[in-house]
């Protein structure tokens, strides 16, 4: 049990510390693919340190909610990173929150950020909050459908059990996961404010979603948000890997496999980051009202995945 707690803490710390690196890697890959000279891979860390050193500027009339929300956001994302098996499958915290609760954690963080964005009452903040919730209300059920498919396959909503079932049981091909995988990719793009839905590097206010929400933040608050965003990308990637490519995650009690598991995680994340950058390079951002169509499709694919499971795999 104590070892389990240690592994739990170590894995969460690993995620928290590595998350900006993944962000840097994706930015670098994208720059390469677009023929630009890439920023250093450690640039996100430098940005974070710079922001932490700066004074925080808070608008007049802001309520405590505004200053409180970045911490909640960061806390939720760290918690989510603790639930998803990345390296080891031996997570004592995992029974406290299953995969539905994981979706709930993302929702909690999002609601706090949206409320904080509305706190000062600027035009862009409220606009960003509205758009974020628009994306979320379709992405969240789609994500639920994806994890439901996985839990149908594994007969459990515990992520550790799902990984156990998919990675360590006899190898089997699940057609339903093909549908779920496509849906998950669509949701992950939307939830992490990536390109067909939102542009993470945009400077055009009217097209922003996530960036519009955090316009009023600066200094340490902004640093926490940026870090949490990186952590969210990391957690989503890890979740995708755990659901669709779980091979390599160490079994419960198998400590010898841990170094290999870390290596496997890094390789998979690097490949995933490269894939993300490639997709972003090839796609253009869509009009806002194409987004419901995109996510509606993801949602229906998720439902379809469950139906296919019932037909082919029961």
């Amino acid at each position: 049990m104590t070892i389990g707690i240690l592994i739990q803490i170590a894995q969460t710390l690993l995620a928290v510390l590595l998350a900006p690196l993944l962000m840097g890697w994706v930015n670098q890959c994208r720059a390469w693919l677009q023929g630009r000279s890439a920023p250093p891979i450690l640039q996100p860390y430098r940005t974070l340190i710079k922001l932490f050193h700066k004074d925080a500027i808070v608008a007049h009339g802001a309520t405590p909610l505004l200053r409180f929300a970045p911490y909640v956001f960061f806390g939720c994302m760290a918690l989510a990173a603790g639930i998803v098996p990345m390296v080891a499958n031996d997570l004592p915290f995992s029974p406290a929150a299953d995969v539905i609760a994981l979706v709930g954690v993302f929702a909690l963080a999002r609601v706090f950020m949206a409320l904080a964005a509305m706190d000062i009452g600027t035009s862009f903040g409220t606009l960003g909050a509205r758009r974020e919730m628009l994306v979320a209300f379709l992405a969240e059920p789609a994500l639920l459908m994806v994890v439901f498919t996985a839990s149908f396959v594994a007969n459990s909503t515990q992520l550790t059990t799902i990984v156990e079932a998919l990675a360590h049981r006899a190898f089997a091909i699940y057609p339903s996961l093909a549908f779920a995988g496509v849906a998950f990719w669509m949701v992950a793009m939307a939830e992490n404010a990536r390109i067909p839905v939102d542009n993470p590097t945009t400077h055009l206010e009217l097209t922003m979603i996530h960036e519009a929400m955090i316009l009023e933040y600066s200094g340490r608050h902004l640093a926490l948000i940026e870090w949490a965003v990186a952590l969210k990308l990391f957690t989503y990637s890890a979740l995708g890997l755990a659901l669709f490519m779980p091979w390599g995650i160490a079994e419960t009690g198998n400590f010898a496999a841990m170094p290999l598991a870390v290596l496997a995680l890094l390789v998979k994340l690097a490949a995933g980051g490269f894939a993300l950058a490639t997709i972003e390079t090839f796609l253009a951002k869509w009009r806002l009202f194409r987004v419901p169509e995109f996510l509606g499709t993801a949602f229906l694919l998720g439902v379809l995945a469950m139906l296919v499971h019932l037909l082919l795999e029961v």
Binding site: A172, P175, S176, A178, L301, L304, L307, L311
Partner: protein, 220 residues
């Protein structure tokens, strides 16, 4: 490889076929539609090959080869040439509310799966659970034909429907007799060629491939 693994791969391929059917339903561009159609043919051919290999039904090899030859290579190539000649490769269709169409698609899938359940229980093949997917793809292709107004997408919908029927035949009875399959393939080929000629005539008459102009042919 064990028998069950073959079955799983066939299941996966047929699920991909259904996935592509849904993608076709929401694809706006003609070029994308043709590419998807080619991929669907490839998935069908692969699954037919695997069924042929795992069950030793040799005539299925021929039908797989036929599928590759006709639906993956010949027809897409023909269509690509056609749209280049018709200058329709930039054509984008305004679709009626994609999520609604998809929702109808889901309803059709539920319907098809339920319809197929009793039939597949009668069938003795190992691939019988695919029957539901095959029926669903047939219905989805039909739905695609209904929602389209342009000529080429309608023909592609028709061909995709034929893909679904092929899959149904393979899964329920390990394929139709070879003579029938050859006949169907020939029919389809001739049909597409004739339709290709029709496209030119339609465009000459109406200056467009939009089928809603056909309404003006109605006698009063």
């Amino acid at each position: 490889m064990s028998q069950s693994l073959y079955l799983q791969v066939v299941n996966l391929l047929s699920a991909l076929l259904l996935l592509i059917a849904f993608a076709m339903l929401s694809q706006r561009r003609v070029v994308g539609l043709i590419t998807l159609f080619a991929w669907q043919g490839l998935a069908l051919a692969l699954s037919t090959t695997i069924v042929a290999y795992s069950t030793g039904q040799h005539h299925l090899y021929y039908s797989a080869a036929l599928t590759v030859g006709l639906k993956v290579i010949a027809m897409p190539w023909f269509f690509f040439r056609l749209i280049r000649q018709l200058d329709a490769h930039r054509e984008v269709e305004t679709l009626f509310n994609v999520p609604t169409t998809m929702l109808v698609g889901i309803v059709l899938v539920v319907f098809a799966f339920n319809l197929a359940q009793p039939i597949s229980q009668m069938s003795g093949t190992v691939t019988r659970s695919i029957l539901g997917i095959a029926m669903a793809s047939v219905l989805l292709s039909f739905l695609m034909m209904i929602t389209r107004t342009k000529a080429i997408p309608q023909v592609i919908g028709f061909l995709a429907m034929e893909n679904g029927l092929f899959l149904a035949a393979t899964s329920a009875t390990y394929g139709m007799p070879l003579v029938v399959e050859l006949g169907v393939a020939l029919d389809v080929l001739v049909g597409v060629l004739i339709l290709g000629i029709f496209f030119f005539h339609i465009r000459e008459t109406f200056d467009s491939l939009d089928l809603k102009h056909m309404e003006s042919l109605k006698e009063r």
